[in-house]
Symmetry: C2
Subunit: 148 residues, 2 copies
Amino acid sequence: MFSILHRVGIKSSTHGVYGALTTLPGLAAWWTTDTRGSTAAGEVIEFVFGTRGYMKMKVIELDADRRVVWQVVDGPLDWLGSTIGFDLKQEGEQTTLLFKHAGWKEQSEFMHHCSTKWASFLLSLKASVESGKGLPFPEDVRISLNWD
Amino acid sequence: MFSILHRVGIKSSTHGVYGALTTLPGLAAWWTTDTRGSTAAGEVIEFVFGTRGYMKMKVIELDADRRVVWQVVDGPLDWLGSTIGFDLKQEGEQTTLLFKHAGWKEQSEFMHHCSTKWASFLLSLKASVESGKGLPFPEDVRISLNWD
């Protein structure tokens, strides 16, 4: 199994970043404006990307201001069953966010794409928390001409 | 061993992207403005990031307009011996670039950081080829407050 890893440092309290990962308005500000469902533990959050498709994530771990883990329960075939984790720690005036999308069965071209796309969304998360203005879908950064 | 993967699509011929990977001015336009050495097969390219440090890469594979592979011969400890590969293919008006930084011994916090940083530099490469204006060091995107 393979993983996508990322790290960003966000000028914020861990509480501020945790809010961007565990509330519908927080998530809508950096990943997709069309975020639905419930962010409580054991519940399912639905992330809709217009005609591109959607993902449904079950919230399998919540540790306030420290850790959020989702498991993909619906979405792209390569994502099914994989887990997406966010670990937070305070370092001076920065919250360090360590990201891990684990459970990829192969190092497919789609995995390469999703890695770059996650980076741009995590920078959108950083911007949304720091300045109030992220770049969630449909305003997200285009990293190629043929895949969204 | 672990790998960092990325994919970007660049509005260019493969020849144009290959030039950005195999000439000193091409490399200086997206990774660091202070790029030295020789880009020929078997030679060593030196990438200097001011006081942050430097990397030296031996060019171990060149396949014109298709593939470039470097091996890290000097630089951060975690990078030593690792390989960095760029595979190019034409898809319509886009060159698809698949990136792989292979040979990481552990999924360290530094590996998480480098993954996000590579994404931002590959988007800099895309911009430099498409518009002539990338964001090489020292103008590179800051992804955290404490690490460059």
